[in-house]
């Protein structure tokens, strides 16, 4: 398909989409409406389950099964990236050489790394109370660790990031979510049913199963992102492209 034909096809399709989308938008509930039937029920259920953060209650309690699926997507994507980016037979692994770093960068990175990891841990631990949770805090934990790469160099990062441990933790986190789901079955309820004592509203140990599932997700997301970024860093830093066929290989 030539570029011109493709552009015409796109314009036609975009016009059809634009017309029908705009028509549909006029039929939606008004922007800013006070009438949110699902939202009102979800908020009521969150308060009933003693979970101050209604979004966490929806994610880890009311529709925890969906979150299990979402977490499996993350796990599968990390696995796929690891398989796709593994070292091929004809690629060489070069030892990255240390590079000079500005002292101010080093100081800022070394100072911020523990702070970022601490804030990430806080966001995971308070997922049932304040904005945040396992997904957000997990990403913060993973990026905080990579300050070691920005501020120092790759070999320092490798020391603070034992990849085999994090790969195992990724699987442990994903498995722990499923196992926590069986707690409901053992207690005579449904899979992923919130069967633990609900605790006092707005306390750290409240929401029953929510903090535990939240922590499992935090571990899985943090180690998943670390493993994922490690694959891309390996490509950029460690793996040498074969020099003899720069113009393409069959």
């Amino acid at each position: 398909m030539s570029r011109r034909v493709r552009g015409t096809v796109f314009l036609l399709a975009a016009a059809v989409f634009a017309v029908f989308f705009a028509l549909t938008c006029t039929q939606l509930p008004h922007f800013g409406t006070a009438d949110h039937p699902y939202g009102a029920r979800a908020v009521a259920a969150a308060v009933r389950q003693h979970t101050a953060n209604a979004v966490s209650s929806v994610n880890f309690d009311q529709r925890a099964l969906d979150t299990l699926g979402e977490e499996s997507i993350l796990f599968g994507a990390v696995l796929g990236a690891v398989v796709l980016l593994r070292r091929a037979r004809d690629e060489d692994r070069a030892e990255p050489a240390p590079r000079p770093v500005l002292p101010s960068t080093l100081l800022l990175g070394a100072g911020l790394l523990p702070v970022t990891v601490l804030v990430g841990g806080y966001v995971v631990a308070h997922g049932q109370l304040s904005p945040g949770g396992g997904f957000q805090g997990g990403v913060m934990l993973a990026t905080g660790l990579h300050l070691a790469y920005v501020a120092a160099d790759y070999r320092v990062l490798r020391r603070v990031r034992p990849l085999a441990v994090f790969a195992a933790l990724d699987a442990v986190g994903a498995g722990a979510f499923t196992l926590l789901g069986f707690a409901g079955l053992i207690a005579g309820g449904a899979f992923l049913e919130n069967v633990l004592p609900l605790g006092t509203f707005n306390q750290l140990a409240s929401g029953g199963l929510v903090p535990l599932v939240n922590a499992a997700v935090g571990v899985e997301v943090a180690s998943g992102v670390i493993v994922l970024v490690a694959q891309f860093l390996d490509q950029a830093v460690e793996i040498d492209e074969p020099a003899q066929d720069a113009g393409g290989r069959r």
Binding site: C25, E70, V78
Partner: protein, 114 residues
């Protein structure tokens, strides 16, 4: 104009698709896919918005305060996570394509192989 936020979401989607259609670089195309996907965040949050509502977190506000819809916020969270993982997976595919064929221009990838 109470439909303007929804129309903005449709516009972001079309901009992203336009970028993918005209893309000459697979990394750029993956970025455009992320733009097209981010239109769903705008649409979902627009649907869940409630005039005068605050965040659906009751740790520092009394229960019963009007809040925006937490269900769509949870959906957006799912959306963001899936979007990030799909982007990562597609970028690793691009790296493999670059290794096998030496190009990231989708126009140059015309040969059937296998």
């Amino acid at each position: 104009m109470s439909v303007l936020p929804f129309l903005a979401a449709g516009w972001i989607f079309l901009v992203g698709v336009y970028g993918m259609v005209t893309s000459r670089n697979l990394v750029h195309a993956v970025g455009c896919l992320a733009v097209a996907q981010s239109s769903t965040y705008v649409l979902l949050l627009g649907i869940g918005y409630r005039r005068g509502g605050t965040a659906p977190v009751f740790s520092d506000i009394p229960v019963g305060t009007p809040v925006v819809d937490p269900v769509v916020q949870a959906l957006v969270l799912t959306d963001v996570v899936v979007g990030a993982t799909v982007t990562a997976l597609l970028l690793s595919l691009v790296i493999q394509i670059r290794k096998r064929t030496g190009t990231v221009d989708p126009e140059a990838l015309t040969d059937l192989k296998g």
